[in-house]
Symmetry: C2
Subunit: 348 residues, 2 copies
Amino acid sequence: MIEDKNQQRTQLSDLGEFGLIDHLTKNFKIKHTSTIKGIGDDAAVLGFKNKNIVVTTDLLVEGVHFDLSYMPLKHLGYKAVIVNLSDVYAMNASATQITVSIAVSNRFPLEALEDLYAGIETAASIYNIDVVGGDTTSSTTGLLISVTAIGAVESGAEVYRNGAKPNDLLVVSGDLGGAYMGLQVLEREKEVYKVNPNSQPDLEPYSYIIERQLKPEARKDIVKLLSDLKLKPTSMIDISDGLSSEIIHICKQSKVGCDLYEDKIPLDPQVISTCEEFNIDSTTVALNGGEDYELLFTISQDDYPKIKANPNFSIIGHIKEESAGMHLVTRAETRIPIKAQGWKNFNA
Amino acid sequence: MIEDKNQQRTQLSDLGEFGLIDHLTKNFKIKHTSTIKGIGDDAAVLGFKNKNIVVTTDLLVEGVHFDLSYMPLKHLGYKAVIVNLSDVYAMNASATQITVSIAVSNRFPLEALEDLYAGIETAASIYNIDVVGGDTTSSTTGLLISVTAIGAVESGAEVYRNGAKPNDLLVVSGDLGGAYMGLQVLEREKEVYKVNPNSQPDLEPYSYIIERQLKPEARKDIVKLLSDLKLKPTSMIDISDGLSSEIIHICKQSKVGCDLYEDKIPLDPQVISTCEEFNIDSTTVALNGGEDYELLFTISQDDYPKIKANPNFSIIGHIKEESAGMHLVTRAETRIPIKAQGWKNFNA
């Protein structure tokens, strides 16, 4: 939240489109043999032999999906890649290439875009992704990032949302609610900063949840682990909009119901303590918070031995017949219908 | 430019993200066997067997790339698809799928987005493309469209920008400058309309060039024709930024020079007459106007018999050694170095 007033500012108009793309992507290396041609022609050319490919795309809009007053541009670039990779992994595929398009107003100097692309490059490096294309243009206001991610999967290994069957176990990776509570802390500190720009917030007690918000990770490791375990989920989805909304997607598309157990929902201690501090119900946060980018999947009960005792996974419920409906079974053993809240941007 | 004040307006907030995507894409049909899974999961799944795939993406931003005061939303949807397909065809590939993401402010009612998607669907239908994904979100101001197009090409049939050789012929499809002059007419009429909203402009004399601006086409037919002629260009690019800029791309990437003959540049009579009316040099318009979406390519002289006398093609010059430079040979037989103007959005 501290801006260096002396930072170097190179006007974007000094470069023009071609100079800008070349400048921003000149350090990007091609790592995959499937990338036959990357940036620099009318289109990228990719070769996957007999594999199927998966394609997914997401838009991130300033003022809607991110707030630059507490989101450093490098983190934003990183996150813009991660949210798309998460969708690729949710298909049980390996992510291989992305394209990155940005629309940006003149208020951003070149150095800001260099930070953004440094974050993109870091994510591409860590997740072993080639950046193969994109578009760079001006906008009348603000910053917008559009990423398309491409992955490869052996034909038949894809996992859709629609394959859950009654009696399957409902499983989630990692823990939930952290990204949302990190956002609450950042929003609070922003208000404090507005009143007193010299305040020095101690964010150490919130380090995990702030990192979940500002620098989320996608669960590439889970796709590999499932493969190592020779475990093909019957359905899978990533948790971008909150657990409720994702469970509803799986149940509706699979034409099934489910019981979700409140006491099985994995929560980090920092999420629990911060929820207490903010006087927010932690279950509500896990159900509706979103942006955790964990994987939610269903497996046949026969596969239970493959995952039991694995600390990466929590079994949080089971699938039922469609007629049974979708319910949260609370700690008090009452049954509450699961409803979507999730995405409400158009209400803003 | 005439707005119906009584039109139906459904607020976007009445639908939410999931309702909106479902609503806008519910009539879209899947036509390709390569589309294994379209809209409705974390990612689309595509299968191209042993073919290579090409991927390209473009952003269109309100106030930068289009002006809704004379660009109907249906045309905008159509054009957003076309500009991406053009890049696929420029690789000598067939276009098969697109994803479409939009960011839109609350000032647009649902009916406006229905118009936009009707244009997208029309283009997808005419060009035989499946719409397999996308994202819909709110923006703080205006409308932004991000399209990613995917195509397939037999391995080895791709045509890049970097394959032109000295003595190759420089060839262009169709005619140039129309889209730019159509824009000049529309901008003039917008100014007239501001002064007198009751004026009824006679746009009939400009019908071809206005259509080139508002409803451009991509040269799918040229890719088929080249295949029928068993003619593989040595290099190819689509003309989105103007002939100069595209020639420079080919020459720089191929490490060659060229002579371009002014009297060979194909111009429609309506472009010539409108240039005279606006007192603009028609060669300058063809060189720098852009948005024509024709294909510019080079062929070996051995292939000349395959295209001579074909009305789809104009031979406008030939490739030389790099040391000879890139020149326009004028009607007066003077030689002028070719310079890029092209894209200047960041100067706005």
